[in-house]
């Protein structure tokens, strides 16, 4: 038993904190969030130069081949600083699908570019009947002229407006098992028939509706076996979720620290409000939710990195905890801050928006609890 960070992880954490403090102070978060792209290009390039974007890409494909716990240490810092970027979607989820299912040609052409930050990929999974299991993949891809034709709509696709290519998860066949018949297609964002619209609203990261109208895809751009790609997608989603959990835990930790600090500074009736037990109760909720998110996330990462059979259960459990916990930590922090909590310059709402958004991304608590029950073969 050893829950300490390795020397490499400690150095990475400290370096990442320094970079974030330099590049993304609180006031910059709002500017980035309100910008058209939703991320900081200069910071993106710095992430690439620091080799962060290839951390879980194998060395032979231009990455550094780190484990997921090490990547999660970095993501916890990114979450703490409310850093938005296509990192998770491009370098973790999409890169993993290529690693798991891609051809040698796809791996050698795409993965190094992802690692260098020169190409941004995103994965389009969810549809208007928003859900994350294989049964929710309804968009069809029909075989035509040696390739495929895509028709349909994907919604809440992260970063599609800045992506160079999309990995589109679509159905090429139907059967009794919903996991069968699912394929993944590599589609250029500017391909004919592809239209991208940014969803508008109170969202933590930029997400888009992507429409496919008779989009032609060559057979060479099918990723993995036609009709047999769900396994790679699910495995990649698990890995991305394990890292997202750490990001959410970092955000929850910041929400906790904000209310803890505020409660010592804000004076009411001549004393800091932190002396009131009712205020303390909110602070404690924020603390316990942040810590539950963190430790379940790292326990799941340990299961993942050590190749345990029960890794998926742990990842789903940690996501269920983080989906609820990040929101509760923010809600409790708002309760401590009261009216000032919604001041956009204060910064708490940066976290609340992310808590609300990531609650759903890669599956909400309800979805993951159901998945846990299935994986544990209850009943």
């Amino acid at each position: 038993m050893d829950l300490s960070l390795t020397e490499t992880q400690t150095i990475l954490r400290d370096a990442a904190n320094n970079v974030m403090e330099q590049e993304l102070p609180k006031q910059r978060v709002r500017e980035v969030d309100e910008s058209e792209t939703g991320f900081n290009q200069a910071l993106w390039e710095r992430m690439a130069s620091l080799q962060w974007l290839g951390m879980v890409i194998p060395n032979e494909h231009g990455g550094t081949g780190n484990d997921y716990t090490t990547l999660a240490v970095l993501f916890e810092v990114l979450g703490y600083h409310a850093c938005s970027s296509p990192f998770l979607d491009s370098s973790v989820l999409s890169a993993n699908i290529i690693i798991e299912a891609g051809s040698d040609a796809q791996k050698s052409s795409i993965l190094p570019a992802i690692a260098r930050g020169q190409q941004i990929l995103t994965t389009a999974i969810t549809e208007p009947e928003y859900a994350w299991g294989p049964g929710a993949v309804k968009m069809s891809a029909s075989s035509s002229g040696g390739g495929y034709t895509l028709n349909g709509t994907k919604v809440f696709v992260p970063w599609a407006h800045v992506a160079d290519q999309l990995l589109v998860v679509a159905r090429t066949a139907s059967g009794a098992n919903p996991a069968d018949g699912i394929s993944v297609f590599l589609v250029d964002r500017n391909a004919s028939g592809v239209t991208v619209r940014q969803h508008s609203g109170w969202l933590g990261d930029k997400v888009c509706e992507v429409n496919f109208n008779n989009v032609q895809v060559d057979a060479a751009n099918v990723v993995g076996a036609a009709g047999g790609a769900w396994g790679a997608v699910e495995k990649s989603m698990d890995r991305a979720t394990s890292v997202l959990n750490a990001y959410m835990a970092g955000g929850a930790q910041r929400a906790y620290e904000m209310c803890r600090d505020y409660s010592t500074e804000r004076i009411a009736f001549g004393v800091p409000i932190g002396t009131f037990q009712r205020v303390q109760d909110h602070i404690i909720v924020s603390l316990t939710e942040a810590e539950a998110s963190k430790w379940t996330a790292y326990e799941a990462l340990w299961r993942l990195d050590s190749g345990r059979d029960d890794a998926a259960v742990g990842i789903s459990m940690a996501k269920a905890v983080a989906s609820d916990g990040f929101n509760k930590a923010c809600d409790a922090s708002h309760n401590v801050h009261a009216g000032v909590g919604v001041d956009l310059d204060l910064g708490l709402t940066h976290y609340t928006a992310r808590a609300r958004t990531f609650q759903h991304y890669l599956g909400d608590a309800t979805y993951h609890r159901r998945r846990m029950a299935e994986l544990m073969e209850l009943g």
């Binding site: 038993m1 009131f276 404690i284 603390l287 379940t296 459990m317 029950a373």
Partner: protein
Amino acid sequence: MDFEYHYTEEQERFRAEAGAWLDANLPQELKDAGDWRDLDAAGWEQSKAFQVKLGERGWLAPTDPVERGGGGLSADSALVLIEELGKRGMRWALEQGSSSLRTALKQWGTEEQQDRYLPVISRGQATLWHLLIEPGAELDLDQLQIQANLDGDDYVLNGEGVFAGPGPRPDYLWTLTVTDPEAEPPATATFLVPAGTEGLEIHTPDTLVAGESHRITFENVWLPSICLLGGDGEGWSVMQDSLLGDPLLEYPPERDEDVANLLKYASETTRFGVALSKQPFYQQMLMEVYTNSEIVRIFRVRNAWMASTGQKLTYHQAETELLEKQAALRLSRVVREIMGIFALLGAEDPMAPIRGKFQGHQKRSLFRQNPTASGGLEVQSAAIAKRLGFDPLEAKGALTFPDEEEEEMEEEASALPSQ
């Protein structure tokens, strides 16, 4: 990171030895008893006898020196012993407050006290009850109603308190007393009181869970100074230092047996032809309580790791206990939802699920909610806040202070027309 304990060959050898001994000596009736509370009078006597056997091997205090009644085992071997007891549903044999008293004796006791008491406790020859007082909570003189006055070389105790511990009768009481309520802060002292001392009276109320707590009155109970543990004035520190327990003793944390039983029941029980565990509404609740129990387990691993690496635990144990209590309360409600009225059936009813264990669980959950008896959620929260650096005595959540209320009332009174 590594969340798993890795066993050495030496540990595995000891596991075989300990397991064989336990299988040969643990009475069949005690296997998977779950808790001393689930034992009848005969079962309790069997458990006492078994504890004496454990004590003879030094296994009730596995890491203490042999000359003090301990087992002289390494921490690694003790961990295996705890696991093997846990596998047989007997982990509670090592708890019951005696480990915290041993901690207090070793830290605060004189050589004479350690020689006298440690072997008795470590050999399972003493049943100990302790005053119910929550670790980490503020000392509340209104709740502490036992006063000790120095008379010559002896102390005289008067008052009453609520005590808890296993079995129908104790051999010793471990209590906190106030010795000078006027001092700032009030002076306190802890005593180890032989239960047969004249002037003690034990009242065990009829409660839902028999024997959970006992009201004990002290009327001119004379105690020699050897019964004083720590100095006069150090009582609160003694209690605080020892009551949270050793986080290493909680490692490796066990999976929650109640949750495991509920999952098993829900998997094997159908309603309208479908297993309860496959019905979405129940499935969500099942996974929620499973997750709650896992969070507590993972926090215990964290606490043990912190303790084993010399990191200072501050709010961490109180935080774990808070979550454990919240999880238990939620589990209690979920059990009623999933088992329905069957959850209330006792072991004697042939239709009782899981041999009626959840009937006891339902009753005990009420006890857990009672802040006076076992430390409610608020007490744990106060302990966390204190360790985070907030002083809960500065204000108690009231947003209007008494002086202001009085001023407002006076203003209102002066505004009234005179009769």
